[in-house]
């Protein structure tokens, strides 16, 4: 039997072991520290300072957070951005992921022709720049020169058209749907890959057991790719709470109309860098970034302790 790695390392001289660890782990630790840990710690540190008009900075403890969550001037836009972000996330979870799962299920059907073409076409928008996507949809949905109104009219649904991006009631959901349109390829691909992993004989066994394609998907494939679906949900959560670019490119930093599309990313941007009459406030901005970090951290912990533990991975 081959000697186990732990046996080998146990017999190694300490200096040699240290050298070995440094060789294999060193580069990763160095890069991770430089680009992830250091900025995070620096941001958190900055959030405990405040700057006075003369440009000096001094330590204020958690005062910035008190202001952010306690002072109505700050807390109202913050909670507005937070709840908008939740809606943004909910739309992705309820629309993007189910469609991604369904598309993956369709792609994995045996005997489907032009599989590669469908896969590529549906994945294509993911590779487009968000700026281009935002700009295109802005044009498409524009009530003045967009094609959406005309297209709806052509099929007799002209009365349904509204300037969705401009209405407070629909702007956020419209933006979320644009993002869904762009990124639905990612859950589709991940789940499709997981579906390919399911052995053919298992599907054959289900066919012999009398299940049709839909039931096979529902009773066999879906439970077996649950780990991937939950992974996709986590990725969606993290990406949505870090989102910024689409809103910024379609609606600008003000996230109009009347902050209806303001999410944490755009709120942070205005706070940190300033916008129009609002002056940039790096220390307050750092506080917002820190809160965003903790929101995502709490979400991930909830997921890890409540969901991840109950999900079983199946080896085939």
């Amino acid at each position: 039997m081959p000697e186990s790695v732990s046996n080998i390392t146990a017999q190694m001289p300490r200096a040699k072991l240290a050298g070995l660890l440094l060789f294999f782990l060193g580069p990763a630790v160095a890069i991770y520290t430089l680009f992830s840990i250091y900025p995070l710690v620096a941001t958190m540190a900055l959030s405990t300072y405040t700057s006075d008009p003369s440009g000096g900075r001094h330590f204020v403890g958690l005062a910035n957070f008190e202001t952010l969550l306690g002072d109505a001037l700050w807390s109202k836009p913050f909670w507005n951005a937070f709840s908008n972000n939740l809606i943004f996330f909910a739309v992705h979870m309820c629309v993007q992921n189910p469609i991604g799962i369904a598309l993956a299920g369709l792609l994995s059907l045996p005997g489907l022709r032009l599989k590669g073409l469908y896969r590529t076409v549906m994945f294509l928008p993911t590779m487009l720049s968000v700026v281009i996507v935002g700009f295109s949809w802005n044009l498409i949905l524009s009530p003045l020169w967009g094609v959406a109104a005309g297209a709806l009219k052509a099929v007799g649904l002209g009365s349904l058209f509204a300037p969705w991006l401009g209405l407070e009631s629909s702007a956020l959901v419209t933006l979320a749907l644009i993002s869904v349109w762009q990124f639905v390829g990612i859950p589709m691909m991940l789940i499709y890959a997981a579906l390919l992993n399911i052995p053919e004989e298992l599907i054959d066994a289900a066919r012999v057991d009398g299940l049709g394609h839909f039931r096979i998907f529902l009773h066999i494939k879906l439970p077996l790719v649950l780990p991937t679906i939950s992974l996709v949900s986590v990725l969606t959560f993290v990406a949505n709470f870090n989102a910024f670019d689409l809103i910024y490119s379609v609606k600008g930093a003000l996230a109009g109309p009347n902050f209806a599309t303001d999410i944490l990313g755009t709120f942070f941007y205005r706070t940190f860098f300033g916008n129009q009459l609002q002056l940039g406030n790096p220390t307050m901005g750092s506080a917002v970034a820190t809160v965003m970090f903790f929101i995502i951290l709490v979400g991930l912990c909830l997921y890890l302790f409540l969901v991840q533990r109950r999900i079983r991975r199946y080896a085939f």
Binding site: E201, L211, H219
Partner: protein, 363 residues
């Protein structure tokens, strides 16, 4: 329970023909083993019977009914897969009842069948376990149980033992044989292992390159292989083949001789002087001695001792190797030159196209 009739069955993938004009009748209650080298189309044939793959041509009848267009579940078959194909997210009980739910079997009846199958396969203790907590042999029994509860007319097995270790393979083989005795159902069983084929089958179907080479009872295949392929495939170690020519034809008898062995007398039939033949003798039918109708000489190169007997690898003067089984403890030492002979009834003769020629003992 049902008979199975396959007529002119073809399967093509693009330009490659995987099955070519398969005709086969399987009687009610018969245990038929499809055997052949890897890639010869056994699984394909089985999957077509199951309805998992469509035919490119030809008909399949199960219990007298044409099933070409029926879905697998409507054909009255159950299949046991090589990888077991148990649903990993269901426990043993659920694995067994799952299919029944979709074919309209009532819960009480499902329960009865599972209990019955579990008793038969000694699975009672395992019903609440998940496949990942079962050993290979247990998984195999669950897979068989899942087939039994369907109460199919025809059982289809695709190499069900090939993932088991040697000891388990033997015991599971015995279990499957017992099961067949008990259930009396029709079984089509695919394997590439000729021992499984010989021990389990009422009839063996030897396949090669998408065609059926021979159908027959195990001992018929062993004692009267229809062609060179079957002769070489059935039996282990494989039959020795010697090239030979017809030396003379006289009075209805043909005298055959070739390099490395002495003469052999055959009924002449259609043989002419100079015809090329292949003479086959199984290693277990070669014995030391000189008086048989045929004698082969060779130098011992290597001896494999198995205990109850040994296999001697001998090199003939023309450089070709052949194998002889030697019973008992005494084995010739390497380097020794020995002459071996075989009884006339153990000699197989094949013509130039590989087909069997009747030998003196054939009726």
């Amino acid at each position: 329970m049902a008979d199975l009739r396959i007529e002119h069955l073809n399967k093509r993938y693009g330009v490659t023909t995987v099955l070519n004009d398969i005709n086969l009748n399987i009687e009610d209650g018969e245990f038929v083993v499809l055997v052949g080298p890897s890639g010869c189309g056994k699984s394909t044939l089985l999957r077509m019977i199951a309805g998992l793959d469509g035919a490119s041509g030809g008909d399949i009848h199960i219990a007298g009914k044409l099933v070409n267009t029926l879905a697998p579940a409507e054909r009255g078959i159950a299949m046991v897969f090589q990888s077991y194909a148990l649903y990993p997210h269901m426990n043993v009980r659920k694995n067994m009842t799952f299919g029944l739910k979709f074919t309209g079997v009532r819960p009480a009846e499902r329960e009865r069948r599972v209990t019955e199958a579990a008793r038969m396969l000694r699975l009672e203790e395992l019903l609440e376990r998940y496949p990942r907590d079962l050993s290979g042999g247990q998984r195999q029994r669950v897979a068989i149980g899942r087939a039994i509860v369907r109460e199919p007319a025809v059982f289809l097995f695709d190499e069900p033992l090939s993932n088991l270790d040697a000891a388990l393979r033997v015991s599971t083989r015995v279990e499957i044989a017992n099961l067949h005795r008990l259930l009396k159902s029709t079984i089509v069983y695919v394997t590439h292992d000729q021992v499984e084929a010989m021990t389990l089958a009422d009839r063996i179907v030897v396949m090669n390159r998408g065609c059926i080479e021979q159908v027959g009872r195990p001992l018929d295949l062993y004692y009267a292989p229809a062609n060179l392929f079957v002769a070489g495939f059935i039996g282990s170690p494989a039959m020795n083949f010697f090239e030979a020519r017809v030396k003379s034809v006289e009075g209805g008898r043909a005298c055959v001789a070739g390099p490395g062995f002495r003469s052999l007398d055959l009924p002449a039939g259609h043989l002419k002087i100079g015809d090329a033949l292949t003479v086959g003798i199984r290693p277990e039918h070669l014995a030391q001695g000189e008086d048989g109708p045929l004698a082969v000489e060779g130098v011992v190169e290597l001896v494999e001792r198995l205990g109850e007997s040994s296999f001697a690898y001998l090199r003939r003067d023309d450089g070709r190797l052949f194998v002889a089984e030697i019973r008992g403890r005494q084995t010739p030492p390497p380097g020794e030159r020995v002459t071996l002979t075989a009884a006339a009834r153990d000699v197989h003769v094949f013509d130039a196209s590989g087909l069997r020629i009747a030998t003196p003992n054939d009726v």
